[in-house]
Every structure is written in C-alpha cells, then in structure tokens.
C-alpha cells in the first residue's frame, strides 16, 4: 500500500515535469489519482504510518493514513481521476501554458494534506496546494490583480494555521495531531478559522467573484471541489479531538448557515456560467460547516439522546461533502465542456447544450444541478435531507440559546436550499435544455471529456440509489435500519426511535415502476403525434425574443432589492439591472486601503533619497529585533 502512495506522488511529480506535453502530463495525473484511490480504499480499514523524518527533537515530518483521511482521499481522488481525464481533452485550449504543472502539483499538495500527521507537513501540503492552485488560476497570463486576492485569502488561511500550530507548539512543545487533544480554545479557533477560510465561507469568499469566470475550467473545478474539501477534512480532523468550546460551535453553526443562505441568494442573481456554481459552492460548504458545528455541539453534551444526533450530523457533513465534490466536479466539467465548445461566458449565450454541444454534457448539467437542488434519489437530496433533519432535532439541546441559534440556522438553511433550487433551474433551463437558436458549437475532441462526464454522472446517480452501501463505506452503518416492509439496510433514519426516514433506493424503484416505465410505454404507443414549435402568438420566436436568464431571476432581485442592492441602469446603449454582493464590501474597502497605504508609502519612502530609505530599513530591523526579544 505504501508503494502505491509513493507511486501516486511520483506520478504527480513526473506529470509536473512533463508539463510541456500537457496530454501526457494529465495522463500521469490520472494514473497518480488511480493510485491514490487504491491507497484510500486500502487504508479504509488499515490505518498505519507511512513515513517519519525528524527535523529537530520536537518537530518531525510524519505521514500516515487512517479511516478519516482514507475516506477523504477516496472522495478527492475520484474527483481527481475525473478531472485528469477531462483535462486530457481540455488541455488543447491551454496547451502552451503551465496549467498541467499546477494541476499535478496541487494534487500532490492535497495528497500531503490528507496524509499529514502533524502540523508541519500539513502546512507544507497546504502551501503547495495554494500556490499551485494560484499558478493554475493565472495560467492565461491575465487577471493577476484578481488572482492575487485568492492568494491573499490562501495565505490568510495559512497564517491562521501557522499561528494555531505555533501556539500549540508553545503550550505542548509538539505539533503532531496527537498533541491537539491538549490544545486550548485559542488553538481551536485559529485552526478552524484557517480551514473555514479555505472552504470559502462568507465573508471569506471575496476572491471568487472576479476570477472564477476567467480561469480554466479544470482549475475552477479543483478550487471548488477538492480544495474546499481539504478545508472540510481539516475541520473533521480537529473537531473530534480538540477540547470543546460551545460558543465557538455556535459561531460555526451560524456562520455556516449564513454562508449557505448568502451563497444561495447570490447564486440566484448570478448570470455567468461559472459564477453560479461558484456561489453554489459557498452554499454547500455553508451547509457542511453547519453540520460540522452540530456534530461538535451534540458531541459535547453527554446525553444519550444526542449520541445518535452527533453521529447523524457527522454523517450529514461527510455526505454533503461527498455529494458536493462529485456533483460540483460533474457540473464544472459539463459546463466547461459546453462553455468551451460555444466559447462563451454567460448563461444566456450558452443556451441549447443538448442539441448544440452534446447529450452527455447536457445530461451532466441536468443531473448535477438536480442533485444540488435536492432531487430524489440523487445524492444531493440525501445530503440536504440530512442537514434539515439534523436541524429539526435542535429541540433536543438543553439550553434555549442553542435551540434558538439552531432554529435560526434551520431557517437560513431551508431558505438556502430553496434559493439554490431556483438558481439551478435557471442553470438547467437555459444551458442544458434551452433552445440553441440553430447555433452549432465548434468541433472539439471530446472522447475523454464525455467519458469522465458519463462516469461522474453515473456515480452521482449511483451514490443516491445505493445509499446504504455509501453510508456503510463511510462508516456509519448504525444509521441504517428497516421500516415497515422496507428491509434492513435500505432505510436511513435520523433518530432512534425513528424521527424521520428516507430510502432513496425505494424511491428509485417507485420512480421506475410508476413513472419511467409508464412514460416509456406511453411514448412508444403514441402514433398520432404532430410536433409543432412552441406557441408564440402565431410566429416563431427569434433569438432576441427569448426570455433571458437575467429576466428569470429579476423578480427576486427586485423583491429583495435591499439585500441585493439592486440598481437599475438606464443609459442609451446599456439598460439592465445590477446587483451587488455586499459581503464583498469589507474586502474591497481593505483592498483600496492597502493600495492607498502602499502608494503613500512609495511616495514618502521610495522617493529616490537614499538616506530616507536606509533609515526606514534600519527602523524596521530595530522593531523586528525588539519584538523578537520580547517574545523570547
């Protein structure tokens, strides 16, 4: 097993070396990812140490795998496999850039994160992932200003982790994960903040608005899926072993719920093909964070009633993380396929994927978006049912403030799910199922693209249909039970005695027998069918007469105009409405402030007079020295 781990890292590194030959490079990444998957599957039941190297007496680099990291490695590596395959075809659009270099090394960074047993190796993996994700982002050679924001947030996350581990080292003289059990609340807050920032939780999502539309699709998919998954992994890693802090848990819950609501809200108003799924990422990660917060909260109270809830909440967080990674990878791949085939950016321009681009990308968009809008029996439905079911059981908590916050986050999450459904219908209706206006996409080689999309599509459906298997694989077989005539592993229960249940497997059977088979029978018997175009006042619709995607969501933007800060623009050549993400305000303000300071500093200090500059350097040195002395 250990050989597969090194093989995987080896393939990623070789792939990075071959970045000039991008197809080969991606194929190597594919092989590496398959190795990672095998490692993950093996490590599910066999935890062991992989590597250990002492740097100093207290600090060493330790790599190892246990059940949790194996779980996340499986989830992540499946997304990597799909993305690597997808990128083989996709690379033709960016053949002359170092996109594949960033791809391979970001993957290896994530491998390090997942296998890290101590703070030092985690930070190394974290930095590698952040920097090479940034490299992927600026691969087009433009938009550096927007990409730097990503880097700034990435480094903020690293800084939080660094501070957390530094305090840990100060208090316990060790930075291994085992030492975390002895850490205090401050460490918990810094570490979890570091992970939360990586999950793009509001208000740390500021970098995405400008850059998401500009980067390559596989980079967007990596950033949205596996990279945020690392944040989830970090939280899942530290929360069970760190000491309990109830108020911080409540902050996490409310932050997650707010983030979910905000992501849903902004996704509704998004009109760019890439921005809508990006905000959906915020929404999903918000729900994951809420579930994790509940898990931590329920775990802290020694009430047998809450034992089950803690386990259920943890399962909910993992299921949503899994569903988000799979569905989002599929969504980004299908949308990227369509977007590149049409060479467009907005939802309106990418209409008619089914007839214009292909059936597989269209199906991919439909299935993944349906999964996000909680359509049974897909895996997204299970995740969103689980989070709501968790929140329903908030009455079990002993104190009123927890109940209140839980109820509040329940409201926000429910709104978020509704809003994201609205947004996803917009996405499906316009891109996948829209009318193509006779446009045909440019011809691109799409064998690998179609293959990876089809595989991912089947996986998203299968994960829902074969939910008992997935739940067992994730390590929560206790949640499965039987009810009435449905036999034992096919019912997922949110409590014992039973509070709420679902059985996607049964839903699938019912759907097939009562809907799909009758529809097929009905369709096959229809002989007298006349196909006509849609009725539009007696004339066929012209392209400029189609209802636009912006118009679809305009009514919501108008009703919630105080939240969206909806503005109407009426000039001669440009009419429309503009919405604003006010959560970006602090970041924009900070950017401007730093810019001003920088400009001012440059004017005062770097004005060509050498003595001023030397004084400045000297002063800085003294300050650093004094601070260093004080700390020592």
């Amino acid at each position: 097993m250990i050989n597969f781990f090194w093989a995987s890292l080896f393939f990623f590194l070789v792939g990075a070396l071959f970045y000039k030959k991008s197809k080969a490079s991606y194929l190597l990444a594919f092989v590496g990812s398959v190795c990672a998957l095998l490692v993950g599957i093996y490590a599910l039941n066999h935890s062991n140490q992989l590597f250990r190297m002492s740097l100093t007496t207290h600090i060493s680099i330790t790599l190892g795998l246990d059940h949790l990291s194996a779980l996340f490695m499986i989830i992540a590596s499946i997304a990597w496999i799909a993305l690597a395959l997808f990128s083989v075809d996709y690379s033709v659009f960016y053949s002359k850039s170092n996109l594949s270099l960033g791809f391979n090394l970001a993957l290896s960074g994530m491998m390090l994160i997942l296998s890290a047993r101590d703070g030092f190796s985690l930070l190394i993996g974290w930095e590698i992932m952040t920097i090479f994700a940034f490299i992927m982002m600026v691969t087009s050679g433009k938009h550096y200003d927007k990409a730097y924001r990503f880097l700034a947030f990435g480094e903020l996350s690293t800084a939080c982790l660094l501070i957390g581990f530094a305090i840990l080292y100060q208090s316990t003289a060790s930075i291994t994960f085992d030492a975390l059990t002895r850490g205090g609340s401050v460490i918990l807050i810094f570490l979890s903040l570091g992970f939360i920032i990586k999950m793009d939780i509001v208000p740390f999502h500021g970098w995405m608005r400008g850059i998401y539309g500009e980067m390559p699709d596989n980079a967007a998919a990596i950033l949205s899926g596996p990279v945020t998954l690392m944040g989830v992994y970090g939280l899942e890693r530290i929360i069970p072993i760190m000491p309990i802090n109830d108020s911080w848990n409540l902050v996490i819950i409310i932050l997650g719920a707010l983030s979910a609501f905000w992501g849903g809200l902004q996704a509704v108003a998004a009109n760019k093909v890439r921005l809508l799924p990006a905000y959906s990422t915020i929404e999903n990660n918000g729900m994951i964070l809420t579930a994790i917060g509940f898990y931590a909260l329920a775990q802290s109270i020694t009430n047998p009633d809450l034992r089950y809830l803690a386990m259920f909440a943890q399962a909910a967080s993992v299921i949503i993380a899994l569903s988000h990674t799979f569905s989002k990878t599929l969504l980004f791949m299908s949308l990227g396929h369509a977007k590149e085939a049409y060479d467009v950016h907005t939802i309106d321009e990418a209409r008619g994927v089914w007839s214009g681009v292909g059936k597989i990308p269209a199906l991919g968009i439909v299935v993944s978006a349906l999964s996000f809008s909680a359509f049974p029996p897909l895996i997204g439905y299970v995740g969103e049912w689980m989070i709501l079911e968790t929140l329903f059981q908030s009455y079990k908590f002993p104190n009123i403030s927890t109940e209140f916050i839980a109820a509040l986050s329940g409201v926000l999450t429910a709104l978020a799910i509704g809003l994201i459904g609205f947004a996803m219908i917009k996405l499906i209706g316009y891109t996948a199922l829209g009318y193509d206006h006779g446009r045909k996409s440019r011809i691109i080689s799409n064998r690998f693209m179609n293959g990876s999309e089809a595989g991912m599509l089947l996986l998203v459906i299968l994960c829902g249909v074969a939910l008992p298997a997935v739940i067992t694989l994730l390590g929560f077989p206790q949640l499965l039970t039987s009810l009435l005539d449905v036999p034992a592993p096919f019912v997922l229960a949110s409590n014992q005695p039973i509070f709420g249940v679902i059985s996607p497997t049964l839903i699938t059977l019912v759907l097939i027998t009562l809907l799909i088979i009758p529809v097929i029978l009905f369709m096959s018997k229809q002989k007298n069918v006349r196909k006509v175009s849609s009725w539009n006042g007696g004339l066929p619709l012209k392209e400029e007469e189609y209802f636009t995607a912006q118009a679809y969501s305009q009514i919501l933007e108008h009703i919630l105009r105080n939240v969206y800060r909806t503005k109407e623009v009426r000039t001669k050549n440009r009419n429309g409405i503009e919405v604003e993400d006010i959560m970006l305000k602090p970041m924009n303000w900070l950017t401007r402030f730093v810019q001003k300071i920088g400009e001012g500093e440059a004017l005062v200090l770097m004005n060509g007079i050498i003595s001023v500059y030397v004084t400045y350097i000297l002063l800085l040195f003294i300050i650093v020295f004094v601070i260093g002395m004080m700390v020592m």
């Binding site: 006042g537 007696g538 400029e544 636009t548 009419n575 429309g576």
Partner: protein, 415 residues
C-alpha cells in the same frame, strides 16, 4: 386650442388639417413655422405602421413580442415590449398586421359606395367614420345638410359613445378581476347594442348615414323604447359606477397607471377622453351645433382612472342628451325622403366627427363624382402612440389597464 388632425399631400403640395373652435380647415403649408407648431407633425405625416420603432439593448434585455395572435388583445396587432423581466422599458406597436388599405379601395368609387368602406375601417366607430366621411364629401361638393339630419347624426353619435364607453369600462373591470362589475357592464353593453339595432337596424349603427342625409329614421315607438331603455341604462350604470369607485382594489389598479401630463398629451396630438383626462378642455363638442349643449368633462390626474372617470361621466351625459333630444319633436322631426343633391360634381374638402375616442378627420377629393383621393385620420393612431408611451416604465401587470383605458383599436389605427 388648435389640434392638427392630419397632414395631406396632394400633387406636391402639403396641407394641414387643423381643428380650431370645432371647425376643421385645410391650410397650405407655406413656412416651416407652421409645421413646428405641432410636435406630432411628423407622426401624422409619416403615417407609420411601426409605431415607436426603436430598440433597447443591455444585459438581459429582450424583446417580448405580444402578438400578432393573442387572446388578451384579440385584434391582429403586435406589441414589442423591451424588458429585463418585469418592467416594460420601451413599448413599440406594430400596426402592419391589420393594414387593409381601406383608403386605397375608396379611390374611383362614388361617395355613396365609399361610405361602406369608411364604416368598415373600424366598425365600432362606424358612425363617426361615416359622419366624418360624409361631412368631408358634403364639404367638397358644397352640399347643405338639413338641420334634422344633423340632429339625428348627433343623437346617434352619442349612442355610439355610450356603447363604446361601456365596452371600455367593462374591459377595465374585467382586467381588474371585478367579475360582478364587468358582467353587469357587459350586460348593459349588450342592451345598448340591441337598442342600436332597434333604432337603426344595425347593432353597430352601420348603413344609416349617407351622403347628404339618412337612409331612414326610427319609428315613434322605437324612439319611445329608446327613451326608457337609455334612462334605465344610465340609472343602472350610475349605481354600478358609484359602487365600483368604493372598491379600493379596483381603484388601486387604475390609479397612477399610465399617467400622462397635459403637456405630454398635447404634444402627442391626443384628443377625446384621453386628452380631457389630463385636464385639457378640447373643443370637439363644438364640431356640431347642439340644441342642448353637452358639457366638456375633464379630470386632472391623466391616469387610467381619470380616463375611466371621464368616460363614465360622458356616458351618463350622453344618455341624458339622447333622452332630452328624443323628447323634443323639433329635434328629430324631418322628412327623410328628401335627398339633397350635390351642388358640384368635383372638389375637395375635409370633415370631422367627435368619435368616442377622439377626433376622426377625413380628407377627400372628388372629380366627376368619383373619389380621387381619400385619407382618414383616426384617434387610435395617435392614441396607440400615447398608449405605447405610457406603457414605458410600468410592469406587465399594468398592461391591460393602460392599453384598454385609451380605448384604441388596431383596425382604426392601421386602416
């Protein structure tokens, strides 16, 4: 006030048809100043079929085409509404779908034959059209029309006003989902149409008016029946109207929808109830000599509600007008068999009539008893423009209230 009703081009000369103090006159254009006096000069001159034919662009903005086949506005016509969702940014109207070239068909017909064509421009304004047309012919051929004929024409014009106003108000009530009100109003509308049939033999007052006279006049019993029925209609309408204005729901839908200021209305060349609803007193009532003067009803708000109120008051006044006239035998008693013969066989002239929705004007040129040039200027043409203008910046839900309140018709506007 001076109202430019139409612009006529004949053999390279341009004439303006101007209504002043109720008298329509033709003026040859001698200077640019004359044209500049009327902001709507080019609109009347061009007689376009695509009104307000501009486009609006922007992210998410699209053209919402309503028509040419719709169940809401049943007539064949098309609205081009530019929108980014709920709000109408710019409204244009395409009249070409109902352009039947009626005026062209009048050429080389005798005036008597052409009356039918004038009536078929817009059958619910059939009498206004035929009166404006026959007045133009009478003007051109220098015919003096009997006072009795004139009185009958006035009485029947008011009958036309009654059923048209009832129709508009019933439509507004139906658009506001006031089912009881709209059902009662449409029953009154049907009563008015039946009464028309009793009085003239046609539910739309077609075929009664002719050049120089009337085909027939109603019998005494029919007049007696009309007096009682119009009294009943007026009474029932007043009760319904009082009841309806107490309904906040209904008033809310009409209030502040499609507001026009007096200046805007004048600059667009509006006439009739739409203009009077903006607080401007026009002199269309003076187009005829009345035995009993009709008051000019105005409102100040200029919105759909004001237009509805003007129509409601006019309706009641018209009922009284007819009743009063039918009670005085001097008003209707004349010998309809005496036909006036034309003095000339050639000439040109104009005529106007105060239709339910504004001034209808005709210009005709006759040579040797055959029409050589005919032009009809209808209130719906400028009304359509005004309706489209007032649709701007309203939401789609306001559409029926604004459009219906102008009482305009595609067949009238497209000719």
């Amino acid at each position: 006030m001076r109202l430019l009703a139409g612009v006529i081009e004949t053999d390279g000369n341009e004439q303006l048809l101007i209504i002043e103090d109720g008298v329509a006159q033709l003026f040859f254009v001698e200077s640019e100043e004359q044209r500049k006096e009327f902001a709507y000069y080019s609109l009347l001159k061009d007689r376009q079929l695509h009104l307000r034919n501009e486009s609006v662009s922007g992210p998410g903005v699209f053209r919402f085409r309503y028509g040419p086949v719709t169940a809401g506005v049943r007539e064949a016509g098309c609205f081009n509404l530019y929108t980014f969702g709920e709000k109408i940014l710019y409204a244009g109207i395409d009249l070409s779908w109902k352009h039947r070239r009626v005026e062209n068909a009048m050429i080389n017909k005798t005036p008597q034959q052409a009356v039918n064509l004038a009536e078929s421009i817009c059958s619910n304004f059939a009498l206004s059209h035929s009166i404006a047309f026959t007045r133009a012919i009478e003007n051109a051929l220098d015919m003096k029309v009997d006072m009795g004929v004139q009185n009958w024409r006035n009485i029947l014009l008011e009958a036309e006003r009654i059923y048209n106003h009832l129709h508009v108000i019933a439509k507004l009530a139906s658009a506001a989902a006031q089912k009881v009100l709209s059902s009662h109003l449409s029953s009154l509308f049907e009563e008015a149409l039946r009464l028309n049939e009793i009085l003239t033999g046609s539910r739309y007052l077609m075929g009664i008016n002719d050049v120089g006279g009337l085909h027939h006049i109603p019998s005494l019993e029919d007049m007696q029946h009309a007096i009682t029925t119009y009294a009943l209609i007026s009474k029932r309408f007043e009760r319904l109207f009082v009841h309806s204005v107490n309904n906040a729901n209904y008033m809310d839908r009409l209030h502040a929808s499609g507001t026009l200021t007096a200046d805007q209305a004048i600059a667009m060349g509006l006439s009739g109830p739409s203009l009077r609803a903006c607080g401007v007193k026009d002199d269309l009532n003076a187009t005829i000599s009345h035995l009993i003067q009709l008051p000019v009803i105005t409102q100040n708000e200029g919105d759909a509600l004001a237009r509805m109120e003007v129509r409601a008051e006019e309706l009641v006044n018209s009922c009284e007008y007819i009743i009063d006239h039918l009670k005085i035998s001097d008003a209707w008693n004349f010998n309809s068999d005496e036909k006036i013969e034309p003095f000339n066989q050639s000439g040109e002239g104009c005529g106007i009539a105060n239709s339910p929705s504004g001034a209808i004007a005709y210009y005709v040129a006759v040579n040797d008893g055959l029409i050589t040039h005919a032009q009809a200027f209808t209130p719906s043409y400028v009304g359509m423009c005004a309706a489209a203008f007032s649709l701007d910046d309203h939401i789609f839900t306001d559409f029926p209230f604004i459009f219906d309140s102008f009482g305009v018709h595609f067949s009238d506007a497209a000719r």
